[in-house]
Symmetry: C2
Subunit: 489 residues, 2 copies
């Protein structure tokens, strides 16, 4: 009975969204004289994502919506004006995030989807004439807060594992992770090549990179819900997920660095590319080793500091420092944040625990609650729903989704032992969730030949792919595991 109700709500929400899409597309089509074919390179997310004003407009310091320009121009103490705009943005986003999260959690979907989708609604209300939310898309401060949010998120993800656990994960998990990274990468590259033939290879490669990540939180929750978090398949999946995270992040870092270098100085030879790979791997390895060695020292010294909030401040310092260093050498800041989380283990905090301080994860959680939704709601706001009504983009999204599912199903080929439910493992690795969105966001800001690597339409396709892979996994995974159980019995 309960499952029927869940499905009904699921269908209800899908229907509401479809109606919204249909209504919007009719108004758009009605408003256009001829349908313009999509020229990928023309649609950019850059205008909203990476600059305070569209890069094609001349810099006009008097532009009303650019509140920081207003501040520069006026010099009349408009710090409070900026703060009140940020306050309003935070109010809208926090409210939206909680409402959105609530709605989807009732249908057993992760809150991130709710935050994303409600952001999509808010960000596209201009299509029906409601413009009040537009300034939030361009706020530089909200963008920085969103970036801090994603750094904190990856830090939290890293905190959940330790280096030791990672090394002990076993060959099966390692193989599953590797297959789950390599196959989607090349399939994604292929899809990019197929649908965006006019774009540079780098773009295709980036799309491939975007398909490598798994957001295992979703899978973990499903396993927990059906009480199967201790079975062998679960352990393999969860072990693979950590390796998968590192691999995906390294690939992202390498691809981003290559694109950035290409952007700065023309094409790269294999020597340069190899150097970048070396840099990325080297950073992660160095961070992990040095961090592991230095952490106990840092926390020992830190424990001698008087005052409250020392533990949290130390943890944030490690996180921010590694994020800054990663960004400094050309990798994505999130690689540093994730490494920082991996390095920190509860053994370091023993002194603080004895003092009565809470665990780092508990201390970080409120900051995450505050900052992380900003990223996903904002990302939803930057999705342009007009792109959803173009058939070629829907096709792109559809193929990408299928490829995303098949690509991770390839993981199951890595499992050679008998008696293990391979299909379940493959399904468990499918959801792209937060990490896919983060990759998309980075791609929307990376510039290549004057326009972003991930255009508006590609961005929309990725968002659709993320939503679908995330939504279909729980029911199918449950079915697969419970069916397997029946088979065994």
């Amino acid at each position: 009975m309960k499952r029927m109700i869940d499905n009904r709500r699921f269908v209800l929400i899908l229907t509401v969204l479809t109606v919204f899409w249909v209504a919007t597309s009719f108004s758009l089509i009605g408003g256009q004289e001829t349908s313009q074919p999509v020229a990928e390179s023309e649609l950019t997310v850059a205008g909203a994502e990476s600059a305070l004003v569209d890069s094609t407009e001349p810099v006009d310091a008097n532009q009303g919506h650019n509140e920081t320009s207003g501040e520069v121009d006026d010099g009349a103490g408009h710090g409070s004006k900026e703060v009140s705009e940020v306050l309003l943005g935070l109010i809208v986003i926090l409210l939206a995030a909680k409402v959105g999260g609530d709605l989807v959690e009732r249908i057993n979907q992760p809150a991130v989807l709710g935050e994303l989708m409600i952001g999509m609604i808010i960000g596209n209300l201009y299509l029906v004439g409601i413009d009040i939310f537009e300034p939030f898309k361009h706020s530089a401060t909200l963008e920085v807060l969103a970036e801090l949010g994603v750094i904190i998120l990856l830090f939290e993800v890293g905190l959940e594992s330790t280096i030791g656990e990672m090394l002990k994960v076993g060959m099966v998990s390692f193989a599953v992770a590797t297959f789950g990274v390599v196959v989607p990468f090349f399939l994604g590259w292929g899809v990019g090549l197929w649908f965006l033939p006019n774009e540079s290879t780098y773009v295709h490669v980036f799309i491939g990179a975007t398909l490598t990540a798994t957001s295992v939180g979703i899978t973990a929750r499903v396993l927990q819900d059906i009480g199967k978090s201790k079975i062998r398949e679960a352990k393999i999946i969860l072990g693979a997920a950590v390796i998968d995270d590192i691999m995906g992040l390294i690939i992202l870092a390498v691809v981003s660095a290559i694109i950035a270098a290409a952007n700065a100085g023309g094409s790269l030879d294999s020597g340069a590319i190899l150097f970048i790979v070396f840099k990325a791997v080297g950073f992660v390895v160095a961070a992990l080793f040095l961090g592991k060695a230095l952490s106990p020292v840092i926390f020992k010294i830190g424990s001698k500091l008087h005052g409250k909030g020392v533990l949290l401040s130390l943890a944030l310092l490690v996180c921010f420092t590694l994020s800054f260093l990663a960004d400094l050498i050309g990798l994505a800041a999130i690689v540093g944040a994730f490494s920082a989380g991996l390095i920190l283990e509860s053994v370091h905090f023993k002194v603080f625990r004895e003092r009565g301080e809470r665990e780092v994860e508990e201390l970080i959680a409120p900051i995450a609650t505050f900052l992380v939704p900003i990223f996903f709601v904002r990302m939803g706001m930057l999705v342009k729903l007009e792109t959803f009504v173009q058939v070629d983009i829907l096709l792109f999204a559809g193929v990408m989704t299928i490829v995303a599912i098949i690509g991770k199903q390839a993981c199951s080929l890595a499992v050679l032992q008998k008696g293990i439910n391979r299909v379940a493992i493959g399904l468990g690795m499918v959801p792209r969730g937060e990490v896919g969105l983060i990759f998309a966001g980075i791609g929307a800001k990376l510039m290549l030949d004057g326009h972003p690597v991930v255009s508006d339409s590609t961005f929309s396709a990725i968002v659709i792919m993320v939503i679908v892979t995330t939504m279909v996994t729980p029911p199918f995974l449950k079915w697969s595991l419970l069916k397997g159980e029946k088979k065994a019995a």
Copy 2:
């Protein structure tokens, strides 16, 4: 023995600071050909505090240190550049705050002084040629984060009391608070008039307003340390402090609003001023009444939301909304934040507590640890140490400090009962701590006739006053209470 060591360290730190001041002043004097007399209206904190560039410089979008202009100009995806600058700023500030806090806590002073003073050191290293910290003074994002920090701080302060407690505080506390607000206000006005005769009356009034606030956290800690937090004097002080906070904030709001209105449209008649007073008092009363009535409803609805982080998000929403509204009607955002804290009581969170969520204060604490130090370290960075070597400013600071102490001592006159240690009560109300600094910061951003209400030199004087009143209170208060004890025995 212990007391001797504390004093020795106290003297040591004072000596280090004095040596630093002397060294700096010699280098400054050595560098100048003639000593310029201080023209108050020329020195402004505006350049750093309220605008991204000095308001006297033409807007140049290519200015290197103005990273947001750089972003506008380039449009080449420099969102990550801004984030890395903010990351660096956060790293420096968090580290400085913890080190500074540690050093002063070892001499039993509150961490806020350490954060302030280490900020003063960092922000003035350019005097000895070290320029690397300069960009942080101009970062718009760090400024917004600092503002959010002070909003969270006042929210926390408000959370510590409830409206009920406030109403029950008793006539003695109310009288003590009233004396402790009225007397310093007029004395401060007088000092402003004496030392800044060329400035507008509004400036004098603002200085008066700055002297009204008490930072009772310092006193509370002293009382706790010597085990006297339950005696009658303690109850009177702590009760008075809450009323004092509200009164001080209302006065600040009124004075700021008056200045803002005067800035916009010339001078005001008493009708306009009365309207502003009415607006301020009305806002607080309305917020408290409506808030008290609506809160249970809001949290009841909120408790129906699924997902994690709902309690914290709701609390933040109440805080941000009231802050935004306060700012919207022309009062300081912190008035809204404080009111929000007063409104929220643990009875509202019963449902969440039963669910296993932590108390709001505990959830807010990590966010405060992260954001609040940004405000005080940054404020210290904006203090210009050059002003400390000018005799007239030191005189101004000295008189202001004496007036600050005497003004609050007047509180003791409000105590008519016999057998109560009046001097202790007067001393307990003396520390200006965080709230004095917050007022100074607001004054540095409020513009009047094209320059800030609180100039660089006035800012320095206030900082000195805050540091001295905060540092001298604990020893004297202890002496007074323990002497009183001996007398009674």
